[in-house]
Subunit: 214 residues, 2 copies
DNA sequence: TCTATAATGAAACGATTGTTTCAAATAAAA
DNA sequence: TTTTATTTGAAACAATCGTTTCATTATAGA
């Protein structure tokens, strides 16, 4: 690791410009702390979570949190990315085991269905919740959500496109149009699943959604 | 108005039991205040709105708010009902002008589409937002949302049922199953509409949703 | 071992949170 | 006009908010 300690020494002694002395390092596991913070933010939302909640959940000192994450908002943004990459990993694993486009789409909906049924606290999807809570308040969150939406739709469009080439899916609409439809349907499913966790109801709902493609 | 002023006088002087003396009455327009509070809550969410915000928005004194609404949560519950009945009125007017079930469903989606396109602040639907923010935190909100969901699904089921009898809609699924599908699709549309307000995109999305019924 | 540097613990910061208090103002009924 | 019940205005409440401060502790490299 190379640290620039004092830029005024740029033309001076090279030893003072680049310091190789290393101080005390973080003692906590950053991923574990992020996971603990994620659970609190997921349960209470951003505005419903206090710094004290985060101190309690992570067992870190306030100063350590600020030293390592900067601010509540900054920590939340890291939490969002953490949550997102965890889900992406799940998705990608599910998609890797799919034989064709139809199975891939079904896998995506099934993963969401399982999350809903196992969500005993009725917290819903943290990304959907955050979108509804903060897009109109915080530009950095809006930007995150725009990127999330673009990535999701691109992924769905890719799958639909393949399905259409394989003639498994119809071409009544373009792959991009179907991708937006599926993206919207997933968000609807997550919202519906907050109060209705009946697996059969939701399976039938997913079934109806997917019929549009066949 | 009849006020029981002192129950210990129940068997005493009848005049002191029932008082007909009327005091100073509220000087503000309750509906107007509710509307002003609705705008703040809609914009910031429940946890993002402070009592000071409500004082500023309504121009009422804090004590008047507490005297008339009891608490922040209680005022919010009244705001939710206010918002809901405003939307119901819109819906019912739209439905009254519909000639058949197909038009009725299309009207519902069109009203939502117009709200999305006109929502310059990207606030989304307040009921959807509140569901995602508070169902897992506040039992009274959970109860409100359950009733809201039941009422919405009953209304949709009624329309679908008529459409199926008129043979405009298919019977691939029951009216109740289609109602849940439509309810979910509306929530998805509202979530999608927060970031995507392109009318053509959303029209095509609605089109795909409704195809399931035909 | 010594030195430089960052993480940590404890306390405090001013501002804001939701709510309460109470005297003053007010209006309907007597 | 007097009485009575309630709203209103202003101030204050304890508690909590997100954040900062700083002395102390700990560690990697010289």
């Amino acid at each position: 690791m190379i640290l620039i300690t004092n830029s005024s020494h740029f033309f001076g002694n090279f030893e003072t410009f680049i310091s190789l002395k290393m101080p005390k390092t973080e003692t906590f596991n950053r991923n574990q702390v992020l996971q603990q913070a994620t659970e609190v933010f997921h349960k209470n939302g951003y505005n419903g979570t206090s710094m004290q909640d985060l101190v309690d959940a992570t067992s870190l000192n306030r100063s350590s949190i600020y030293n390592s994450f900067g601010s509540k908002l900054n920590m939340f943004l890291e939490v969002l990315s953490h949550y997102q990459s965890y889900h992406n990993a799940n998705f990608n694993q599910g998609l890797a085991n799919s034989y064709n486009a139809k199975e891939a789409i079904e896998t995506i909906f099934e993963l969401n269905l399982n999350e809903i049924v196992n969500d005993n606290d009725r917290k819903g999807c943290m990304i959907v919740n955050c979108k509804s809570e903060m897009v109109n308040q915080e530009p950095s969150i809006k930007s995150f959500m725009e990127k999330n939406q673009d990535r999701m739709i691109a992924m769905l469009e890719d799958i639909v496109s393949k399905g259409q080439m394989e003639k498994i899916f119809n071409k009544d609409q373009t792959a991009n149009q179907y991708a937006l439809y599926l993206f919207s349907s997933i968000q609807g499913l997550r919202m519906t699943g907050i109060l209705n966790k009946n697996r059969e109801d939701l399976k039938s709902l997913i079934n109806t959604v997917l019929k549009a493609l066949y």
